[in-house]
Symmetry: C2
Amino acid sequence: MIEIYLLEQLAAFARYGTLSKAAEELLISQPALSRSMKKIEEDLGVKLFIRENKKLLLNETGKLAAQLAQSQIDQNKELVSRVIAFDRSLHSIHIGACAPQPMAELMPILQDHFGDMTISSELVYGEKLIKGLKSGAYHLGILREAIDDKELFIQRYMSESLFICVPEGHRLAKRESVKFADLSGERFLLYQHIGFWKSVCEDYMQDTTFLIQPDRDTFADLVANTDYPAFASDRIVSGDYRMEGRVLIPIDEEKARYTFYIACPIEDKRKYAAFFNSVRSEVIGR
Amino acid sequence: MIEIYLLEQLAAFARYGTLSKAAEELLISQPALSRSMKKIEEDLGVKLFIRENKKLLLNETGKLAAQLAQSQIDQNKELVSRVIAFDRSLHSIHIGACAPQPMAELMPILQDHFGDMTISSELVYGEKLIKGLKSGAYHLGILREAIDDKELFIQRYMSESLFICVPEGHRLAKRESVKFADLSGERFLLYQHIGFWKSVCEDYMQDTTFLIQPDRDTFADLVANTDYPAFASDRIVSGDYRMEGRVLIPIDEEKARYTFYIACPIEDKRKYAAFFNSVRSEVIGR
DNA sequence: TCGGATTACGTGCACCGTAATGATC
DNA sequence: GATCATTACGGTGCACGTAATCCGA
């Protein structure tokens, strides 16, 4: 058995060609490296170098050894990263959410239940979310429909309705409610990371132009300082949300209101039972 | 990077289940192993064990780590053996010979030329020998025919003729020479390791029974102490070979005389040039 | 009381760095 | 003189063993 540090030194010598250069890269002294190379030969019981004219060169066996050493080093590094990744996976919950708002509201409950774990989320919807839940890519999911699937446990969570948010002087500002068709020809500010709502916009408001903003701050700035209309939701409005100089108008469309469901692989149902119960009571309690 | 000795200790603990047992197997003390396990956790920055009731158990991450450790150990061992095997291959000449006698006579010349190398030989003939020469399985070959092959360099070497060796009282003892047919019905002692000669016996003396001897000493003993006929060759007879109470009679058949050739892959021709020249002059010199 | 894990403590060796030497360009 | 490998020598960190302690069956 040859220790890794020796293999690393051999591989470094093979890469850099001279002891001096390799020693410098390895942050050890030249004599130390010289001795290590002797030790490897000793340990293997095989000549690895051609020593001539005070030059040190790898012979054919040495080249093979250096190559195998490098692959051993790579595998050692992979061992470390795999173990760490596995450990992390045991201490994290990754959630696939179809929209940001229900995810944001779930966060405090998750932290209550899994305070010692890392909670991360990803905006994803449709088939990719379902597959990810089944494959384990997501531990939990926030769906926008109660699909019937034997592999998944699903529970009703909350609803969200879409509003428009227009300046007081806007042509629609006095309306009680609007339809998608009313927005034709308008130019709407749209924050990019809104999950499936983006597809709703694209599918049902094809005659509306969207000014897509990838940056959250820029988006907020534009809403505050321009007259472009934008969207909002009842989950934000219902709080103490207020916006100077703008009015909120509900969208009267079936596709502007969604009920969300939380889901997990059926085999994890027990593991998350307490959490699911908390969600039920908290949401009912509103 | 985790040193191999730590991985080995982890794998041993995983195998034996307790520190005490594993330490005993590893020939180190229990406290040393205890510390090493702590160090691995420290180095990886990850919990690998469940410590409860003074028992030490691997957790899921630990089981993964131990498994990966074992595979790393296996690969380290393979590295060592591959390097050693490669080195040996550089310092050895392996010869595929179709018969033992020409091989034996080649040995002194080989040792003259390649004194620092390990010379080994294997009895093999026909297609397997040709393929082995081309694939590098044999560095040199002793063939019984001068095949025409662009990949091989071939040079005439020596000839050998088959004799029978019968007791003075044998029915054939007074003959000048014999034919294969004369041996019909006889029971011949036959040493097993005679290369292609075995196939000659089987192909051209189908009515002769062969008492095949896998052991050299037993064979010699039987020749010396029984009246069974056996074979001999002019290469042995020509020396000061004598056998009490037996006579040697040449076999007058085309298939009882072969000319041997030595061969190597064409790309090695230069490497063995001096040796090939020695063979030519020595054999001519006889 | 025994078997097994951990803690405490002292030790030796293996690896290291500095310095000097040898050797080639 | 510059560069590079090796040898010599002295230091030190680290993994080890012994001994003691703790804990549960």
